[in-house]
């Protein structure tokens, strides 16, 4: 949607200010200028009504948002704040042709071409060029997931189900052990796993830079591939990818766009890998508690849809002791790659999370999102941080 099309939707904001309860930027910085309400009002005045100039301060306020979607998810007036911010960033990039749009070009070149093995290395180089904190990326795995497993994986026994597995970039490049856990468990459950070729990044990182076209392009490419595969389910392990497929991607196309048929067909099959496993194999075969644990709920985990109740599932499957955080759903500060852009803010947000985590005195922190995983692990080196699939692996095999 174009920015102008959001004008009426944005007017639904009742200015109740309830977003104060969830916005990590507001919670860290403490003043209302960083709130969704002000962002919406500024976007209207600067970019739609044009009664104000797009000043550096405006740009700063627009850029200082981790797109955690906390405000959107909790907004009772149902204003899609994150989408409006993305549309505004896109407009700003068009205007300026400055840093923002250069950054966009470089990033999208890298992201769209995920066959480039060193995707994140390149992204890191880009980050460095633009003065984002260098050397702050997860360790690239020497052997990414796709060079460990590919094609169609057949179980030893007779296949009872056939699933396609969309492997997130985080799993591919940084944490291939997540993908190994997923496939090991699925195979053990006599499930045939297809790892389709040619899939790319889901597009979320492009969207957050305001590259709507780029995101639409990769989304469409992924949909075409997934739609062509015969399978019962399409499994994903990254909550941001799921959000992109289920919520954000479909909105990039008009309802009557030919691709929407395929989007619907694909989305009807998408399932959070953990939930799928849990439902099929409930409860775990041999309860093997890997250690007491706590859960950080990634912002992009669509609470209402694909994959609520991770902690409960893990407890049931493994028998491990769960210690809930005071604020399991508060942002960890990573914001995808945002932490490279604004180190100070991200660290302030993270510190709130870390305090909460340390109080639990657990040995393991579980979280679905690879970026949350990395960023939290840097803050609590004494603990193990892992994906839920790795956590249950021992109990499922």
């Amino acid at each position: 949607m174009k920015l102008e099309d959001y004008k009426d939707i944005s007017a639904r904001c009742s200015e109740c200010n309830f977003c104060q309860a969830v916005c990590p930027v507001f919670i860290s910085k403490g003043s209302e200028n960083w709130l969704a309400r002000n962002r919406l009002n500024l976007i209207r005045e600067v970019l739609i009504e044009k009664t104000m100039e797009p000043s550096p301060r405006f740009t700063e306020i627009l850029e200082t948002c981790l797109l955690c979607t906390g405000c959107t998810q909790s907004c009772s007036s149902m204003v899609p704040v994150d989408e409006i911010i993305i549309a505004a960033r896109s407009r700003m990039a068009e205007y300026a042709g400055g840093v923002s749009s250069m950054k966009k070009k470089l990033f999208s070149g890298v992201m769209k071409n995920s066959s480039a093995i060193n995707l994140m290395v390149k992204a890191g180089a880009v980050a460095q060029k633009f003065g984002m904190a260098p050397g702050n990326l997860p360790q690239m795995s020497s052997k990414p997931f796709f060079s460990r497993r590919s094609g169609t994986l057949k179980p030893d026994g007779i296949a009872e189900a056939r699933v396609a597995y969309y492997v997130g970039c985080g799993t591919n490049f940084f944490y291939p052990e997540t993908g190994e856990a997923a496939t090991d468990i699925l195979l053990k459950m006599n499930t045939e796993v297809i790892i389709p070729e040619g899939l790319t990044c889901c597009g979320i990182p492009l969207l957050s830079e305001g590259d709507i076209e780029g995101a639409a392009e990769v989304f469409k490419k992924n949909i075409e591939i997934l739609a062509s595969i015969e399978c019962d389910k399409i499994l994903m392990e990254c909550t941001s990818c799921i959000m992109m497929f289920m919520k954000k991607g479909p909105k990039l196309f008009a309802a009557d766009d030919p691709v929407m048929e395929k989007v619907k067909a694909v989305n009807a099959k998408i399932e959070n890998a953990l939930t799928y496993i849990y439902q099929k194999k409930n409860p775990g075969i041999n309860k093997k508690a890997p250690g007491n644990f706590t859960c950080h709920v990634p912002c992009h985990l669509n609470k209402s849809e694909k994959g609520a109740g991770t902690a409960e599932i893990l407890r049931t499957l493994t028998g491990a002791e769960y210690r809930e955080l005071d604020e399991p759903e508060s942002c960890c500060g990573a914001g995808g790659a945002y932490y490279m852009k604004d180190k100070e803010l991200s660290e302030t947000i993270r510190e709130i999370k870390l305090k909460d985590i340390r109080k639990r005195e657990v040995s393991i922190v579980v979280t679905e999102c690879p970026m949350c995983r990395y960023y939290i692990s840097k803050g609590v080196p004494e603990m193990e941080v892992m994906h839920p699939l790795e956590f249950i692996k021992g109990s499922m095999l």
Partner: protein, 464 residues
């Protein structure tokens, strides 16, 4: 003349002052943007009572308006800086100074968020009942300044009942501490309760001493689905008359429940035209007995359906959806203006009838969703369009509703305060003598008229 932003930076620190226009815009209004918007000249963010004193002394010396602000969730335009000046954002003064179990009191700074306070209390099985539905964000300072209430008002009363003492920075920068930690006091005029409800027009509340209660042992939610708004109102009156005191007793028209249902996992069955959402709390046996009594009253008066909610998660989701009703209605209508008339509980059926008649005669939708248990009905003007014609009708409706409330021996505001929203009506309720007294008090405490000018009554307070 130098600018307040620059001057304040010298008095405080760089981080405690905002004066770029993009930042100031965030402080131009509360939750009633349709009443007025105006950016302040600067925002000051105090970290201590001393900071507040410094800011106010500066404003006093330079005759600059000062507007205290909590979360800005007000529904009366109370913290909208209509004359510009300095907004004091209290949210960083957010420490819970003391929770005193043995005295059942707490001392908190003005910027403490209500929900956070209650979460801390719950850890010690304690409870601070006032529950304005904005609890996730609103501040104790804002609650005290408006005498905020909520569904629990029916059993537990509203904020003023819990305030035993305050620390207030006066409009010349000096600090007073009326009342204190004692739970009773008979010592001169009750200044504590003069500042309680003063809507930022007499000084800045930097600390509050509050009474606490033990957390009720258990609670149960009940939903009565009623065939008509009239019937629901009759049931409310009957419940009160029978001596049952629910902890919460909310009145909801069908449209409100329909909106809420979009945010609830197990939606409320839509079998009636009006609904009562209730909670009873206390000891196990008391709760059981009250549930029985309420059920039998509802049955006797012919309610369509009575649901006793057994799953605590469901109860929570109903109450949470209730707390978001105002923004939920904004996803359906173009604008929503909430009135705050409160009448004696026996007059609720009559108020309901009159409000419905007003809506019918002006041909605009007026919703009813309120804390019926304490007579606070929140008739809500729901704008189907933004136009002068509609605004004119809305104006008329508001005036007629307010008159109806007063005719029924009610008040024009039960909990939101007067602010800008109702300042043209306040004299209708209090008459010239009382207003004269109030203005005289204002004149003594704030002779320069710098504290939140233009609120409660037109232009500043003291007659000049």
């Amino acid at each position: 003349m130098s600018s307040p932003g620059k001057d304040l930076r010298r008095l405080l620190s760089d981080r405690q002052v905002l004066d770029e226009k993009e930042d100031l815009m965030a402080y131009a209004n509360d939750a009633t943007f349709y009443l007025a918007r105006r950016s302040p000249d600067a925002v000051a963010i105090p970290l201590s009572t001393e900071d507040v004193s410094k800011i106010i002394r500066y404003a006093f010396e330079n005759k600059i308006p000062v507007v205290p602000r909590g979360a800005g969730s007000g529904l009366a335009g109370g913290c909208t800086p209509i004359h510009g000046g300095i907004v004091i954002d209290m949210k960083q003064m957010n420490s819970i100074v003391e929770i005193n179990r043995k005295n059942m009191t707490a001392e908190v700074e003005g910027g403490v968020v209500l929900d956070r306070f209650n979460r801390e209390l719950r850890k010690q099985k304690l409870f601070y009942p006032p529950d304005p539905q904005s609890m996730k964000v609103c501040t104790i300072g804002g609650n005290v300044a408006t005498r905020a209430g909520g569904p629990r008002g029916v059993k537990y009363g509203t904020t003023e009942r819990y305030v035993t003492g305050l620390e207030v920075v006066l409009p010349d920068g000096s600090v007073i501490t009326p009342g204190g930690k004692v739970v009773k006091q008979s010592c001169g005029y009750d200044l504590t309760h003069l500042f309680t409800g003063s809507e930022g027009t007499l000084g800045v509340i930097t600390k509050a001493n509050l009474r606490l209660l033990p957390l009720p042992e258990t609670s149960t939610t009940i939903i009565a689905s009623c065939v008509s708004a009239d019937q629901a109102a009759e049931i409310v009156s009957e419940i009160i008359a029978e001596g049952v005191v629910p902890a919460m007793l909310e009145f909801l028209i069908k449209l409100a429940v329909m909106g809420m249902n979009n945010h609830i996992k197990n939606p409320i069955p839509l079998s009636g035209d009006a609904y009562l959402l209730m909670e009873v709390d206390g000891g196990e046996s008391q709760v059981e007995a009250e549930v029985r009594k309420i059920k039998s009253i509802c049955n006797a008066l012919g309610a369509a359906d009575i649901i006793v909610v057994n799953d605590p998660a469901d109860s929570r989701s109903y109450w949470e959806a209730r707390s978001k009703l105002y923004p939920i209605m904004m996803s359906i209508f173009k604008r929503v203006i909430t009135e705050d008339v409160t009448v004696p509980r026996n007059s609720i059926p009559e108020l309901v009838r009159r409000v419905q008649a007003i809506g019918a005669s002006l041909q605009i939708p007026i919703g009813l969703a309120g804390h019926a248990g304490d007579g606070n009905m929140h008739p809500t003007i729901m704008h189907t369009e933004i136009s002068d014609a509609f605004a004119e009708k809305a104006e008329k409706a508001i005036e007629q509703i307010i008159k109806a409330g007063l005719e029924l021996s009610g008040t024009i505001s039960g909990e939101h305060g007067i602010g800008l929203h109702k300042n043209r009506f306040i004299e209708m309720e209090h008459g010239p003598v009382q207003i004269g007294l109030m203005k005289a008090i204002k004149g003594v405490i704030d002779p320069a008229g710098i504290m939140n000018p233009g609120k409660i009554w037109h232009e500043g307070g003291a007659d000049k």
